[in-house]
Amino acid sequence: MPDRHTSLRFLPKAGSLGVIAVGLLLAACSSRRFNSDSQAKLVGGAYADPGEFPFVAMLNKGCGAARVAKRTYLTAGHCVVSSNHNDVLDDGSIGGALAKGSTVALQSESVNSTHKLHHRKCPSTSFVHRARAHAAQTTHPGAVSHRPRAH
């Protein structure tokens, strides 16, 4: 029988930054433990050098994003989907609805600006659609969810 593990969507937890959804997932992975390292970054990485990744931006102080075209940023689907639009997604997606015309704050070394969102696209097979398809099903036993706070 597989071990049970906690999954953490990589959204921040507190205040206006959104909420981590914590649930159970059946999967196999390492159970070794290390003491936490207060010097570690990321977990276990280092600070990037100035100018090393100038195309990376922080999105609404809750997620990362990569600029992949002149006006287009690639990010995670769960960063831009509002829980208001989906009854089963309750992971505190960073800014609630990122609808057309809403505000997107982008911060990088060279960009620190607020933009109006023109468009948002997710793949047709994204987790959002799958979550909707299973919305009527019962909650996984033992799953824990934190209500998102208002952004």
Partner: protein, 156 residues
């Protein structure tokens, strides 16, 4: 209480990606290259980035400063790359940040940070922090469905 259906949200064929278009041009011209070729079996480095926390004990705190880490051990799946047993891993707030492939002096995006796993399945474990947390990225390369979607959406 509304709850994520984890097996459906986090399953191996799920794509956790979004493209956002902004109205105005950002003032600079730094644009990342996307690579749609599989990097598996070739020589190079995988780098994860993020502005999120730097330990699970401080997981409510974004550091607001970009961090990087090198990933080596990974488990390829259809739509996701899962990394575990590495010296570096993701942390809340890293969602949406790119996974980079660096080879022959070139850097390209090959994935997007999606979610992670704690070692032993409890929030208390997660709070202790660990270097063995798994981290998963939506694949954007290797002929995956996401690669086709991105190519179409970006007109590449």
């Amino acid at each position: 209480m509304r709850t994520l259906r984890k097996p459906h949200i986090l399953g191996p064929s799920v794509i956790d990606l979004a493209l956002i278009d902004v109205v105005e041009d950002p003032s600079d011209d730094h644009i990342a290259a996307l690579s749609f070729d599989s990097f598996a079996g070739t020589s190079g480095s995988l780098v994860l980035l993020g502005f999120g926390c730097d330990s699970f004990a401080e997981r409510s705190t974004m550091t607001l400063r970009l961090k990087k880490g090198v990933l080596k051990n990974f488990v390829p799946r259809k739509a996701m790359w899962r990394f575990e047993g590495n010296d570096a891993s993701g942390c809340p707030g890293d969602s949406g940040s790119p996974l980079l492939w660096q080879a022959n002096g070139k850097t390209s995006v090959v994935g997007v940070n999606s979610f992670g796993l704690a070692p032993n399945g409890t929030a208390a474990d997660a709070a202790q922090g660990s270097k063995t947390f798994a981290v998963s990225f939506s694949r954007t390369e290797g002929g995956a469905e996401a690669a086709r979607w991105l190519t179409e959406q970006l007109g590449l």
